[in-house]
């Protein structure tokens, strides 16, 4: 009884937060509602006895990925939606279609009357704890996906560095260590400004 009440409470918070992510006009408040959605999702993981997963959800999703989102939102200086009517109409049409598909899926799901709540919890996990169970399975049976994940992370790392270097760097030739860099107010404007500044210097 209490377990169902707790689940219902957190599921309610999750649904409301997700809806507010989409409905709010200000991108920063949308991001914050997404954070609260992730935290309530983590609480639901905890009710399913997946403690490691719940905590990792907060550490990685709410604590790292959403921080990145916030940095980007502040960096891009996103104002509230200012697009023209036709673009909004197309987006909304696609949104309605996707929403309709989801509702149909949910109806099919629920109509089969699958049992809500966790299936029979595997007993050995209760003794050793969720983290140890994850460790034992991940590094034996699922070793290959684990090693591939490291490749994935490596690719992401290299990709991020390459992209940010090509966007934000001044040309290397004009830069020396110890000399303050040209003030980079706008990453796009810095390259032509530096190029324009180079010519008088090479003449002098």
């Amino acid at each position: 009884m209490i377990a169902q009440a707790v689940f219902a409470a957190f599921a309610g918070i999750l649904v409301v937060s997700s809806l507010l992510v989409v409905l709010h006009k200000n991108p920063v408040t949308s991001a914050l509602f997404l954070v609260s959605a992730f935290c309530s999702l983590a609480a639901i993981y905890l009710t399913l006895r997946a403690e490691f997963l719940g905590m990792v959800q907060v550490i990685v999703y709410a604590g790292a990925i959403m921080v990145l989102f916030l940095f980007v939102i502040m960096y891009l200086n996103l104002k509230t939606d200012l697009e023209s009517g036709a673009q909004i109409a197309v987006r909304r049409g696609i949104g309605w279609i996707a929403g309709g598909v989801l509702v149909a899926e949910a109806a099919a799901f629920l109509s089969r009357r699958w049992t809500l709540g966790p299936a029979a919890a595997p007993e050995p996990m209760a003794a050793a704890g969720n983290t140890q169970a994850v460790g034992q399975v991940l590094y034996t049976r699922y070793l290959f996906p684990f090693e591939i994940t490291s490749m994935l992370l490596l690719v992401a790392m290299v990709g991020a560095i390459v992209i940010s270097k090509s966007r934000g760097a001044e040309p290397k030739a004009t830069f020396e260590r110890g000399r303050p860099a040209a003030p980079a107010a706008e990453p796009g404007a810095s390259a032509p400004a530096a190029a324009a500044g180079r010519d008088p210097e090479s003449n002098a």
């Binding site: 920063v28 408040t29 403690e51 490691f52 940095f71 502040m74 969720n130």
Partner: protein
């Protein structure tokens, strides 16, 4: 009535509430007096007495400060985002307080013992980054924004090394539960086996709590007051309180992980919490000592230290500890 009291669920909630009340009040009192202690210690280290007017030897100073902060007028700048402006200081205090629910203060005095106590601490410190980021952004003030952004970049850079430095302790214990970690240190505290990890943890703790020498984003001579430039009254009070609570929380976690928690000789089990507080006080004193001893790091030096020194060192520590534990167990 007796049937209600015998119900195990009721007992769980009741005793949890009692412990929470004790810890919450104790913690808030401890934080206020820690602020006073810092001012007096700072004074002595600078050759002056520190606050000693209000009450005997200045002991009523925290009360005076709190009353003053309550009665200050509040300034919310125009065009600041009101909701986020109010949430940010709350996010500074709440994660630091919640971590205390899993810290073992005495052999029978933990609010609760969960299997993943250490991960709860890391999760809460991840959430703590938002306080700074949102505080800076919502003030609609260039200085606050820059200070907030730089401070949060600093915090996330050092969070990596902090998480990785705790892996050594994990390898030695085999459990993420803080209660188990303390029990595993009954003979020898872990800083003997993990001196490098202890050092890295303390350094990253200084950076995570924005304390000197890592307090560039909120330094008085730079950027006005950083991300809390536009905050006044109790919201500023909460930021301030949150910072010090964070210090106490991280020192408590360091005590638990590396100094053996409540373990100690000569005292019976019911008094072992005294050892916990002595170790905690020692670490907090070291934090204060460092603040008034070292000059501030420049921002690029700070980020270099976090990414180029502490991160590879903590990874190396993980590998070496893993190899050593394997070798010791399989000789």
């Amino acid at each position: 009535m007796k049937a209600l009291f015998d119900n195990p669920d009721f007992q769980l909630v009741f005793w949890a509430l009692v412990k929470i009340a004790i810890i919450l009040n104790g913690l808030l009192g401890l934080v206020s007096y820690m602020i006073l202690a810092e001012r007096k210690i700072a004074g002595r280290m600078q050759g002056r007495p520190g606050p000693n007017r209000v009450g005997p030897a200045g002991l009523l100073q925290p009360l005076a400060d709190v009353i003053k902060l309550f009665f200050k007028e509040e300034f919310i700048p125009a065009e600041a985002n009101r909701v986020v402006f109010h949430i940010a200081p709350m996010l500074a205090v709440i994660p630091a307080l919640v971590t205390f629910s899993v810290i073992p203060i005495g052999p029978n005095f933990t609010v609760t013992d969960i299997n993943v106590g250490l991960l709860l601490f890391l999760a809460m410190s991840s959430i703590g980054v938002y306080a700074v980021t949102l505080g800076g952004w919502s003030s609609n003030n260039k200085y606050a924004l820059l200070g907030g952004l730089r401070s949060s970049a600093q915090m996330i850079s050092y969070e990596l090394a902090m998480g990785l430095s705790t892996i050594g302790v994990l390898l030695l214990t085999g459990s993420l539960s803080l209660v188990q970690i303390v029990k595993a240190q009954a003979a020898i505290p872990f800083f003997v086996f993990q001196p490098l990890a202890f050092l890295i943890f303390m350094i990253t703790a200084l950076a995570e709590t924005n304390r000197a020498p890592f307090d560039l984003p909120e330094a008085e001579a730079e950027l006005v007051a950083g991300f809390h430039t536009e905050y006044s009254s109790m919201k500023f009070g909460l930021f301030f309180l949150g910072e010090f609570t964070n210090v106490i929380t991280i020192c408590a976690v360091a005590t638990t992980l590396f100094l053996g928690g409540w373990n100690g000789p000569w005292l019976p089990d019911s008094l072992k919490f005294v050892w916990f507080f002595l170790k905690l006080a020692a670490l907090v004193f070291v934090f204060m000592w460092l603040r008034w001893t070292f000059p501030r790091f420049r921002y690029d030096q700070l980020m270099d230290l976090g990414w180029k020194v502490l991160l590879p060192l903590s990874l190396a520590n993980v590998m070496v500890t893993g190899a050593a534990v394997y070798w010791i167990h399989n000789r």
